[in-house]
Symmetry: C2
Subunit: 534 residues, 2 copies
Amino acid sequence: MTTEAACAELISRLKRAHVLGTVNGLLSWDEQVNLPPDSADLRAEQLALMAELQHAAASDPRVGALLAELEGKDGPPSCATATAGTPGRPGNGPARPAVAPYPLAAATPDALTADQQVVLKYSRRDYDRVTKLPPEFVSEKARHSSKAFHAWAECKGKSDFAGYAPFIERHLWLAKQEASYLGCAAAPYDYMIDRHDPGMTAETIGALFAELKEGLVPLMSEIVSSPVKARAGLFHGFPVEQQRTFLHTVTERLGFNYRRGRIDVSLHPFCEGSGADIRMTTHFDEANPLNSLFSAIHETGHGLYEQGTRIEHQGTPLGQAVGMAVHESQSRRWENQVARSRPFWRFFEPRFREMFSAQLGAVSSGELYLAVNAVRPTLIRVDADEVTYNLHIILRFEIEKRLFAGTLAVADLPAAWKALAQELLGLTPANDREGVLQDVHWSGGMFGYFPSYCLGNMMAAQFWYKAQGDLPGLDEDFARGDFSRLLGWLRRNIHEQGRRYDTRELVKVVTGDALTPKHLLRYLRERYLPLYRG
Amino acid sequence: MTTEAACAELISRLKRAHVLGTVNGLLSWDEQVNLPPDSADLRAEQLALMAELQHAAASDPRVGALLAELEGKDGPPSCATATAGTPGRPGNGPARPAVAPYPLAAATPDALTADQQVVLKYSRRDYDRVTKLPPEFVSEKARHSSKAFHAWAECKGKSDFAGYAPFIERHLWLAKQEASYLGCAAAPYDYMIDRHDPGMTAETIGALFAELKEGLVPLMSEIVSSPVKARAGLFHGFPVEQQRTFLHTVTERLGFNYRRGRIDVSLHPFCEGSGADIRMTTHFDEANPLNSLFSAIHETGHGLYEQGTRIEHQGTPLGQAVGMAVHESQSRRWENQVARSRPFWRFFEPRFREMFSAQLGAVSSGELYLAVNAVRPTLIRVDADEVTYNLHIILRFEIEKRLFAGTLAVADLPAAWKALAQELLGLTPANDREGVLQDVHWSGGMFGYFPSYCLGNMMAAQFWYKAQGDLPGLDEDFARGDFSRLLGWLRRNIHEQGRRYDTRELVKVVTGDALTPKHLLRYLRERYLPLYRG
């Protein structure tokens, strides 16, 4: 079989699994947006059957045979490292500089092109993750996650950590099992991190977070001790229909293509779909118009990433996002660097006031801008502002690291949480509901996921300064309501690259530097200090 | 294998194919209700892949083996007739009285129960239809339908029958081929009819329609020549949101369960889904509030049928509708017998006026009721009222019958159409766009489908008088806004029966009589003559 033929067949099989995945995605979206309340049983059956079919397509032995054939042409090394996806991989340890593997070796007759190598590397990675886990393990994890979710919801309500602890314990065990099935028994937390952000390790993250913390804690203190405070209770009576119209105008102007996507209402905002059909959601509160606006801009950032991937590569690694952290770098750039900026509001404030003249009559421009950039430490991560949010993540990373290292017992989690919350946020939870029980993630065994949020913030800032350097006059663009040059830059440098680079490689290729928290710290200081120094 | 075990496995496989079908249904609904305009390519891929998977599940050889095993226990005869589904079947010819085959032979140890026999009979029928057609034939028909649809749309625009004729010709050939694959080469039109309405034949329909025509033409003439006319241009400025609220109130009161269904907006109204999740649609026109209301009530009738099937039988013949005609009998009863009645408006008129007081200020009760029951012959079927609608169907049946008999050449269709339109409706189309090119059905090879609409009208009336006899005081119920006794009667007698009886058997079992147009004629005379005789 020629390389061309093997690749073509591989891609056609990947696309088949992808299309099934998009059907699943639509079922999930519909479940949260449209499903009549008593139709949940049928939806559960539909989702279970479709998951089974998607799994069958993704684990098709013919895919395995094609991968083996292509690896024979390409030589095993790059695939072996991609399979493990753990330390030891080139460019992964903090001591070694990140390398840009693209362009890869030039194609020789019947050898793989650079693009084909990317497809091969990540298809192998995905295939192993689907096929190396025994079916009984997969169903046990699914069953346990379902039980753990209900236990979490109940225990959170009662602020009863002891009842929930055995479920975390079991999930930890399952995570280690999973890592060992994938050949990563020696570094299970790295395995969990790499699942979400290819190329990342706990050691790398630890170093980045330590540096970030050092700058962030004093910055937070200075802001908190400032006499300048955002006024509470500024907004009320913002009709939902008008909020919807305004939000649509804003997100469309940012570049979201409503001919390939839509926004609806759900309890928790999310963004689902591929570049060909993006479904975002938001929710409305008449007393909090900024909440739905910023959550919609956040989801728009995710949507713009997906819409920016190349349509001809949908379903292959060349048309997929790198991982969670890069995804967050996109959503958070639009939400924070762009939409909390003065130039953005220079353009949109008059439009906001025109639509809500009665509601905003008594709100000054200064008050509005301060409300957009309010900072106030809170115990609850999802309520946090963009300054203190990162500290919530550092806390969780610290705990996960210790749990996996065996230096923290599950039973001691609440105490460790309280100590870290006091150290990082200057606040102590009165109970576990506003402490260790607040997040859903661990009930699904989603360890290694939290760091992505903060890594995304770092990347967003690092890409941001690079874009500003490359594109002089961006502020003036924004003040005119023109975001197209920024979007074009993101498309070329990030969206259209698919998975050509892993998380850290991408930062290096795009900005010329390794990932560092310096840019995030600089950005936060530039944004918040002038405001809070008065 | 015991009967119990074989049936259980058969049912579980049927349900699997059914769940895939519900996913397909949701994709189609979403396509018409939500799909962003440029996401159509992905949707086409999703639908094609899901159709392939559904076909694979429905044609699973294991289903064939289970059917053969169960037929061995049951004896072949009843299955053989179900397979053919064509004349010669007991109770099918008009000369023989319709027989109610239920209850079937009492279950003996390991013999099939009556319910199991129903499952076996229709599973065999469905399985043969899925497996006896060669895959190349199925894809050729699909391809031709797609081409024919586009040709139809183009030729209709240009009123160019000659360009469309070869597509009908080919579809006729394909229909005959299909019938012969299913062992019905001798009676291809009967095969097409039986596909939509099990147990029906062209001969039966011909006799019913002849009798109906005899009563209908003079009735129409009397109404048309009446000086009483519904006033045109009565309505304008009905805000969509209020129409939506009113329509929701009405359909919910009729009994539609919005905890297991919803109504949205699409270009063409339809009803999709199974009893577990029904998605209806409507469309709104500010100058025509009755249009969206009646179309929503029509779809509600379809929805109530599906919601009335037994949830534990979803996906098996015991939880499925009999066919198109019975489905139409449900939608049309609610739309016509119920919602065009005086008692219905006695209850809803005050509510309608309360919601639209400004718009209805100058409209008298008499004018409103006449608008609800306007009769005016038109050349276009979809614009027709419930009196003349049946004549449109008789016309199409007459043409299809002659086409299949070979007594009408495709080239002569326009002339035949014009002659029949003049004879039946007293109108002659000025061109083929308002004549033979008006309907989409034949472009999809959907011969034998039109009769269902009119058979549904007949059944609706026949069931209606039976229900009135069984439930004295229905008018008083309606005038109080209570439709529950009627719905309960329909559930027990029709919805919960699934496919226990075929089309004609059901009428016989429920009403004690064979299907006849007498009740429809009686109903139309009782409804319209008092109104138009002034």
